[in-house]
Subunit: 431 residues, 2 copies
């Protein structure tokens, strides 16, 4: 006998938890029409029981500050982990699975760090561990990779996966703000947290990329070896110069497949204005995929927020509620995914943007372009801008395609010249 009620325990009742509870209440009849079951929030785990809440779910919901109250409740079908953080969330998910409860989570950091062991545990117990809300808010990328594109080999995936970083870069582009001012605007508008480190240093995007690599390639790419560069060092000058050349600077998370090896990383890059991701502005996220059958596919939507992420979490809950016997956590049959074959990040080939700061004296351009030539880097465009009193002039080079390794070697040589008066700025250009 199928039961007609699905009991949920919410662990965490912040932005996303509250959003989820609101949607479940507002769309109750609609949800029942689709799954023929009633979703009931039975327990809510919070840190502070005395805190005043802006929204309280139905009368069945009991607030608690003890994890045991959830784990010991044999009526709970699905534990929804929305606390974030690593240790407590890890223990909660492990214990829930060990106790036979399905788990839905939006915890990207935890899945990036401990995904393989958690998916193995869920696999052994034949339980769901679902996570649509962990990547790109309401955009259905997890489902798309697990099911809709399942018959494709994904040859490349390029994402704008962090709304905070994208908002900051959009502000710097459209208003000419510097990084600090744009970050402040983001904080004022609620797009950046008090401590924005994870977002602006690219770590949040890295967590999401690890999850997407697992889904797209069925491989475990250790977070510790993923090259990650954030946007905290991005200068207004480079954003403006990029625009002059017809490019926009974005924080990109990318994985490409080359003969079974994966080339991945998170880095700021210049995108041509007519690139399909160039117009993804403000707090929006977007993912461009290429599959060997489907060709290019792009998904776009809000990458965060109470209701968009709540929508994704709800989709996972409904999938489990429809049929708890049909579990597909990773999209692959293995108990544990194999380690990724990793292509040396330095072997990545792309076009490049350089901005050198040099004394304005004869021979500078020739010396610098000479070093480029020695490293087999072909220059597509070079512009020397007038600087203050002839000192510290910016010299911008856009190159043709060259391996990152050669570029970094050339940069080391160039930055040794005594006429180079500041560190050279370097970004990749995506086509």
């Amino acid at each position: 006998m199928e039961k007609k009620v699905i009991n949920l325990a919410l662990a965490g009742f912040g932005t996303v938890g509250t959003g989820l509870a609101r949607i479940i209440q507002e769309n109750e009849d609609w949800i029942e029409r689709r799954i023929n079951k009633k979703l009931v929030i039975k327990k809510i785990l919070v840190r502070d029981l005395t805190r005043i809440r802006s929204f309280i779910p139905g009368p069945e919901a009991v607030f608690t500050d003890k994890v045991e109250d959830i784990l010991a409740d044999r009526d709970i079908d699905i534990v929804v982990e929305l606390m974030g953080g690593l240790d407590t969330a890890l223990r909660l998910i492990q214990k829930s699975l060990e106790n036979g409860m399905h788990v839905v989570t939006a915890n990207k950091a935890l899945l990036a760090e401990k995904g393989n062991e958690l998916f193995s545990l869920a696999h052994e117990r034949h339980l769901g561990l679902y996570y649509e809300g962990s990547v790109a808010g309401g955009i259905p990328i997890v489902q798309t990779l697990k099911n809709s594109l399942a018959g494709n080999r994904i040859t490349s995936l390029t994402g704008i996966l962090n709304g905070t970083a994208n908002f900051i870069l959009s502000e710097m582009t459209s208003r000419g703000q510097d990084f600090a001012a744009a970050l402040n605007t983001a904080k004022e508008l609620g797009y950046a947290e008090a401590d924005p480190t994870l977002d602006i240093e690219g770590l949040d995007a890295a967590h999401k990329l690890i999850i997407l690599i697992r889904l797209a390639h069925g491989a475990d790419y250790p977070l510790s070896v993923l090259p990650v560069q954030g946007i905290s060092g991005v200068k207004r000058t480079d954003v403006a110069l990029a625009a002059e050349f017809g490019y926009v600077l974005k924080l990109i998370a990318q994985v490409r497949e080359k003969s079974g090896h994966l080339q991945a990383g998170v880095f700021p890059a210049l995108l041509p204005m007519d690139h399909i991701l160039a117009k993804v502005d403000g707090p929006f996220n977007s993912i461009l995929l290429k599959g060997n059958a489907v060709g290019p596919i792009m998904l776009y939507g809000q990458g965060a927020g109470d209701l968009p992420t709540g929508s994704a979490v709800l989709a996972d809950i409904m999938a489990l509620a429809r049929d708890k016997a049909r579990i597909d956590n990773t999209g692959f049959r293995e108990r544990a995914l194999p380690k990724a074959h990793i292509l040396e990040p330095d072997l990545a080939v792309s076009r490049h943007y350089f901005r050198m700061t040099a004394l304005d004296k004869p021979g500078v351009l020739s010396a610098v372009s000479g070093v480029m030539g020695e490293h087999n880097i072909s220059i597509a465009q070079a512009v020397q801008k007038p600087g203050p009193e002839g000192r510290d002039v910016p010299i911008v080079f856009l190159t043709h395609r060259a391996p990152l390794k050669a570029v970094l070697q050339a940069l080391r040589v160039i930055d040794e010249f005594n006429f180079i008066t500041g560190p050279t700025v370097h970004y990749r250009i995506l086509k």
Copy 2:
């Protein structure tokens, strides 16, 4: 005991059938890694057994020109209907379901016309009737509506669903071609069929919209009452004038929900250049959805073609192969979906574009704008263009938001004026 082979019968071996067979062969190991089963094409139904084929699947595949050879084969798990057309395909799908076989189809016309009875039949037999390939090629819109956005009420859905029409309009926009020339280009490049009627008259987009309305709203909207306007009447002049005002003309399929009622239609419309769908060019498709939780979501990809559509068909096959007991054809629990509550199409409110052709004499602008005023239509912009020898000058009005009904009434009055020398052209403007 689960069996390790899934036997397929392909009914139809044209573009999509061949593409599907190619992907199944090329990605064989990848598919098995995901579903732990081997997909075997056992029968292929074709009209002409003597025709030379560009691609032949593995040795297990037997070609036949008799439907009975498929229906009588008790080893077939899934019948993949890629014949197109109505009568034969309908009988094949009905018989397949009656014989206990799952069905995957990309036949949008059939699902639009006979969807409700076919889904009822599949529901009664607990069999899958899957159709990801029927809408927007490789874009995972069916899955997204059925599962990922299942907890959302969809408040609006706006799609560019026909690649042929979109290619033609893109050519008219970018190269200034007239309709006939752009259609010829489309034919030469293989984007338009010899008889392009279904594509250019909006019927193909209408079929897809009916399917999307079913998925998004759980309602049966009869094709016969859907307002459909194609692009065969679109003039180069209007494409050029739209561009001058900052708009691009697209063939739009749209459904909006207003208090439980649906307002739907297929029509050419002006989109502002910065609209997220305005940059969808050539043979690409795109769908912009708004859900009451997820907010706006956009999906983009190739709307047709052997491999993109093959990718979608393969996703359906793999979903059934993974678990044939877990069937979800419509995304709703009912045996038959209820009839849609339809909002009178004339009540649609939007901005409007008019181009009148008038004699160049005093009082014309005042008379025309007077009629607009009487019908409560407020003018946002008006431009009178110089015409040949002062005759037949084009007068363009862009209005503020007004109901379609008032606009059509005003147009009837205006076209009665004796100084109006040709039929007035009218398009909606989407914001």
